[in-house]
């Protein structure tokens, strides 16, 4: 098995949000600032790794008709671990992410990876898959949040960029999230079409 490939497919080729189109809600809702985005990425990656390891470990004992409830219970347990840890050690982050921490449970990326990958592969491969997918998800969130934080609050990593300039508040509200993702997806389609045309002419 090509472990390197398992890791990198989550970052580019099978990127969860931009290519597969899953896990949209947290991507859009949490990307209002870079620090929120990175914390959300870390939390989701942790849950992803934990659930992938456990699901992969029990993949031969679980009867296939009750596997979904079992997977969801496993995921929910890891989400509770994240919730309590953040509440205890990073209360500010816990408050900023709010309802989206319990909602990691219903993030389609995690159940999707458990069902599609971890239930069929051994533990090391599942860990790498989770790491890659988690990294891809975190990168997506970071890209979106950099754009939205610069335009929407005139800041980057919490530091003011141009003093005295009024930011476009719209960008950190819900419409800004939709516009940014729509335009990014458009840009990705343009790049894909260009490379396809370039390959054809070669």
């Amino acid at each position: 098995m090509d472990y390197f490939k398992e890791f990198f497919k989550g970052v580019w080729e099978k990127n969860p949000t931009f290519v597969l189109g899953i896990g949209m809600c947290p991507t859009l809702a949490v990307s209002t600032s870079v620090s929120n985005a990175i914390w959300m990425g870390i939390a989701t990656t942790f849950v992803l790794i934990g659930s992938n390891i456990l699901v992969s470990a029990i993949r031969n004992i679980v009867p296939s008709h009750v596997r979904i409830p079992i997977f969801i219970t496993i995921i929910a347990s890891f989400v509770i671990i994240v919730e309590l840890t953040l509440k205890a050690y990073q209360p500010a982050v816990y408050k900023a992410l709010g309802i989206f921490i319990p909602l990691i449970v219903v993030n389609c990326i995690i159940l999707g990876r458990a069902e599609e990958f971890a239930a069929k592969n051994n533990i090391p491969a599942s860990i790498l898959d989770a790491l890659g997918m988690g990294l891809g998800f975190t990168l997506n969130l970071t890209v979106l949040s950099i754009i939205r934080e610069i335009l929407g609050s005139n800041k980057l990593f919490g530091y003011t960029l141009i003093p005295g300039m009024k930011p476009a508040l719209l960008m950190i509200l819900a419409p800004g999230a939709f516009f940014t993702l729509g335009l990014l997806l458009w840009g990705m389609n343009v790049i894909k079409a260009r490379t396809a045309r370039f390959k054809r002419t070669e």
Partner: protein
């Protein structure tokens, strides 16, 4: 007095804090099922139904099971299991009682378990402090119903627009998801207008 509060909750969940366009919850079904108006209606009705009863049951479980045993931290796991089994139960009951309704809603019901708006409304019912109020249960059921109606409203509007977009002239690369997101952004901007609204 109580009617006034209920009305405020209803209007604010439908328009001001619309679950899709303002809180950004439940995007997967919103994008997935909004291609045709017929299926959007089915999905919307199923979501209203499940959200209302899910608010009822999660509130009861939180108040009479989790709080007395001091296990509030198990909220997430309890709610997701309640919602998943509830959806299963509703599916079986509808199949027995009304095959016609089952035909209309059937395929959408399993999808609702992973709709984050349903878990979202259950968690928000607890977070908005209804638990200590006198009519908390009624409030949270109304909030669940309103959230479902708001979701359906956004979904139907989007489905109507997307049916038109099918025949519109759009640049090749903008077709599909990108134009849908930009449309959703414009709709969210329109819904922002409600945020200045004062009730009473």
């Amino acid at each position: 007095m109580e009617i006034k509060i209920l009305f405020t909750i209803l209007i604010s969940t439908i328009f001001i804090n619309n679950y899709v366009l303002s809180r950004i919850l439940g995007l997967c079904p919103y994008l997935g099922v909004s291609k045709k108006l017929d299926s959007a209606i089915g999905m919307g009705l199923a979501v209203i139904f499940v959200m209302t009863i899910a608010s009822f049951f999660t509130f009861i479980i939180y108040k009479f099971v989790l709080i007395p045993f001091h296990i509030e931290y198990l909220r997430t796991i309890a709610f997701i299991i309640v919602i998943a089994s509830l959806v299963q139960l509703v599916e079986m009951v509808i199949e027995k009682i009304s095959p016609a309704l089952y035909q209309a809603l059937g395929i959408f019901l399993p999808l609702i378990t992973t709709n984050c708006a349903v878990l979202g409304v259950a968690v928000l019912n607890i977070d908005s402090g209804f638990i200590t109020q006198e009519f908390g249960l009624l409030n949270s059921v109304v909030q669940g119903f309103g959230a479902g109606v708001g979701f359906t409203l956004a979904l139907l509007l989007m489905a109507g627009i997307r049916e038109r977009l099918e025949i519109a002239m759009i640049p090749e690369n903008l077709k599909g998801l990108p134009i849908t997101f930009i449309t959703a952004g414009l709709m969210a901007m329109a819904f922002l207008g409600f945020s200045g609204m004062k009730i009473f």
